[in-house]
C-alpha cells in the first residue's frame, strides 16, 4: 500500500515526542486495536492539587499512524486537566496531524482509548468515579 502520510505525521513518526515510561505513574492505560493487533501503553503523572497532567509518556507497537497519533495525543494532553484530557477525541488527534489516510483512522482511536484507560486508572486509584468508555472504530 502506498504510504501517503502528511508531513506532520511523518515528523511525529520519525521524532515521536514523549516516548518512554514513567516510574510510579499515577495512571497507566493500555489499549489494543482489534483490527490489526496493535498496542499502546500510556503513563500519566498528575498534579494532586490542580489535577493537571504534568507529564505523560507512551510506548506503542503499531504503524506509523499509530505512533504519530500517540505522540500527538500526548502533546495535546500535557499540561491539561484530567477533565480536559478526557474530552480529547481521536478525530482531534487526526486533525492536529493534518489528517490521516481513511484506512488509518482507527489507529488514532488507539490513542484516545489508551488515554481514557489511563485516566480511569487514575480516577480509580484516587477514589473518583469511573467514566464509562465508549468503543468506536473511527
Amino acid at each position: 500500500m502506498a504510504l501517503d502520510y502528511s508531513q506532520k505525521v511523518m515528523d511525529h513518526f520519525i521524532n515521536p515526542r514523549n516516548v518512554g515510561e514513567i516510574e510510579n505513574a499515577d495512571g497507566i492505560g493500555e489499549a489494543g486495536n482489534p483490527k490489526c493487533g496493535d498496542i499502546m501503553k500510556i503513563y500519566l503523572k498528575v498534579n494532586p492539587d490542580t489535577k493537571v497532567i504534568d507529564d505523560v509518556k507512551f510506548k506503542t507497537f503499531g504503524c506509523a499512524s499509530a505512533i504519530a497519533s500517540s505522540s500527538m495525543a500526548t502533546e495535546l494532553i500535557k499540561g491539561r486537566t484530567i477533565e480536559d484530557a478526557w474530552n480529547l477525541t481521536n478525530s482531534a488527534v487526526a486533525e492536529a496531524l493534518d489528517g490521516l489516510p481513511p484506512i488509518k483512522m482507527h489507529c488514532s482511536v488507539l490513542a484516545e482509548e489508551a488515554i481514557h484507560e489511563a485516566l480511569n486508572d487514575y480516577r480509580a486509584k484516587n477514589g473518583m468515579e469511573i467514566i464509562p468508555m465508549e468503543h468506536h472504530e473511527e
Partner: protein, 395 residues
C-alpha cells in the same frame, strides 16, 4: 544511496529489452492479423518471442500462449480448466494456502459462482507442501492441481517435479504459478511433468502487462478472454507486440545468465541473512534455507516491531523493501503466507522482505547490514510488545 530491494514486486525493464521493443511502437506497428505484407513483421516478431520463451522452458513454441499478465494466465488456467471439467462432472480443485492472490481469489470466485469444491493444502513451517498431502487430497472429482513453483513472499521452492509426476500418474492436469520461479530457476516442463505454467515478463527485466501460459499439447481449457481469433483462437485481443517482443528478449537474456545470477544472488542472500541473524537479537528467518529457497529472497520477522514502520525508516535511508504486516495491507489482515507457515500475528506484523537482483551490489548489502539493526533497536525501544517479550525471555 538508492537501494532497490524489491525485485519480487517488479524489476526494471533492461536496456537491451527496451531496445528490442522500440521498433514495434511507431515503425512496425502493423496488426499481426492483417493480410498485407507490412504486418508480416509483427507476426514474425511474435513468433520469434514465442520460440524464445518456449526454448527457456523446453517447450514447443506452439505450447506458449501470450496473455496480458501473470494474473491473467492464472485466471485462465483455473477458470478454463474447471469450467470445462465441470461439464464432465469434475468440480474439485486442489491448491495451497500460500498461493498468490491471483490463484487464491480465482479459486474463491470458482467456489462462489460455480460451486467448485476447493482444497487448500497446508504447508509446513518452512512453507513446503507435502506431496503426500497432494496425493491424499485427490478424489475422482479432482479436475486440477495447482501448486506454485516458488513462493513470492518467503521464497520456498515447492517439490514441483514430484507433484508433476504424481499428477501425471493419476492423469490429473497439473498447473504451476511460476511467475517468480521462472525469473531464477531452470524449468523443464517436460522433465517436470508440468501441464500448465504461468509466467510474467515484468519479474524478469521485461515490461509490465505481458505474461504467458504454457499449455501442454492437447490440453484445451475453455477460453478466458473471448473475442477475436488471436493466439490460434485461444486468447483474443490484438497482440501487445512490443510487450511480447520484450518478454521473449528478457527470457532469452535471463536464461543465458541464469547460473551466474543464481550464484551471485545466493551468496549475497546468505551474507545478508547471516549478518542480520548475527546483528539483530531475536531475528527470525522465515522460509527455507539453501537451494530450496529462491536465490534472491530474504524474509525476516523481528518480534516487537511493526513492518510498516520499518519500511518507512528504511525508505528514509533510501532503501525499498516490503512487509507482510497487517498495517500495510489494504484489508488490515497480515500476510496469509506467513500465517500459513504458523507465524503468530505479532510475528507476521514484524515481517520484512528484501528481494535482491540485478540492481543489487555488495556495498548495498553492507549498507543494509549497517542501518537495519539500529532501526529495529530504536523502534523496539518504543514498543510495549518488545518490553513484554523481553520479560518472557528473561524468565
Amino acid at each position: 544511496m538508492f537501494v532497490y530491494m524489491d525485485h519480487t514486486a517488479t524489476t526494471p525493464t533492461s536496456p537491451e529489452v527496451l531496445k528490442a521493443m522500440m521498433p514495434y511502437f511507431s515503425e512496425n506497428f502493423g496488426n499481426p492479423s492483417s493480410v498485407y505484407s507490412f504486418s508480416r513483421k509483427s507476426r514474425a516478431a511474435i513468433e520469434k518471442a514465442r520460440s524464445q520463451v518456449a526454448a527457456a522452458l523446453n517447450a514447443d513454441p506452439s505450447e506458449i500462449f501470450f496473455t496480458g499478465s501473470g494474473t491473467e494466465a492464472d485466471n485462465w488456467a483455473l477458470k478454463g480448466t474447471l469450467e470445462k471439467a465441470m461439464k464432465a462432472g469434475k468440480n474439485h480443485l486442489i491448491t495451497t494456502s500460500i498461493e498468490h492472490h491471483a490463484i487464491l481469489h480465482t479459486a474463491e470466485y470458482l467456489k462462489k459462482f460455480h460451486g467448485v469444491d476447493v482444497t487448500y493444502l497446508p504447508v509446513d513451517s518452512e512453507g513446503f507442501v507435502s506431496v503426500k498431502d497432494v496425493e491424499n487430497a485427490i478424489t475422482d472429482k479432482t479436475a486440477l492441481v495447482s501448486v506454485m513453483f516458488a513462493n513470492n513472499e518467503v521464497g520456498t521452492i515447492e517439490p514441483v517435479a514430484e507433484i508433476g509426476a504424481l499428477c501425471r500418474e493419476k492423469k490429473i492436469p497439473f498447473h504451476t504459478d511460476a511467475v517468480q520461479a521462472a525469473a531464477h530457476l531452470d524449468i523443464d516442463v517436460k522433465a517436470m511433468n508440468i501441464d500448465m505454467l504461468s509466467m510474467s515478463a515484468h519479474k524478469m527485466y521485461g515490461p509490465k502487462g505481458v505474461g504467458a501460459l504454457y499449455l501442454k499439447k492437447g490440453l484445451r481449457p475453455e477460453n478466458f478472454v473471448h473475442g477475436g481469433a488471436q493466439e490460434k483462437g485461444r486468447r483474443a485481443s490484438t497482440e501487445n507486440i512490443a510487450g511480447i517482443v520484450g518478454f521473449g528478449e528478457a527470457m532469452e537474456i535471463l536464461k543465458s545468465r541464469l547460473d551466474e545470477d543464481k550464484k551471485i544472488n545466493s551468496e549475497r542472500r546468505d551474507r545478508l541473512i547471516a549478518g542480520l541473524l548475527e546483528k539483530i537479537p531475536h531475528a527470525k528467518l522465515n522460509g527455507a534455507t539453501g537451494d530450496k529457497r529462491l536465490p534472491n529472497n530474504i524474509n525476516f520477522s523481528f518480534i516487537g516491531v511493526e513492518g510498516e514502520t520499518l519500511l518507512l525508516d528504511l525508505d528514509a535511508k533510501g532503501i525499498s523493501a516490503s512487509t507482510g504486516s497487517a498495517c500495510s495491507s489494504e484489508s488490515l489482515d497480515p500476510s496469509h503466507v506467513l500465517l500459513a507457515l504458523g507465524l503468530k500475528h505479532e510475528m507476521a506484523h514484524g515481517s520484512l522482505r528484501f528481494t535482491i537482483g540485478r540492481l543489487t551490489t555488495d556495498e548495498q548489502i553492507d549498507y543494509v547490514l549497517d542501518v537495519l539493526p539500529e532501526i529495529v533497536a530504536r523502534r523496539r525501544a518504543m514498543s510495549p510488545l518488545w518490553e513484554d517479550f523481553l520479560k518472557t525471555v528473561k524468565n
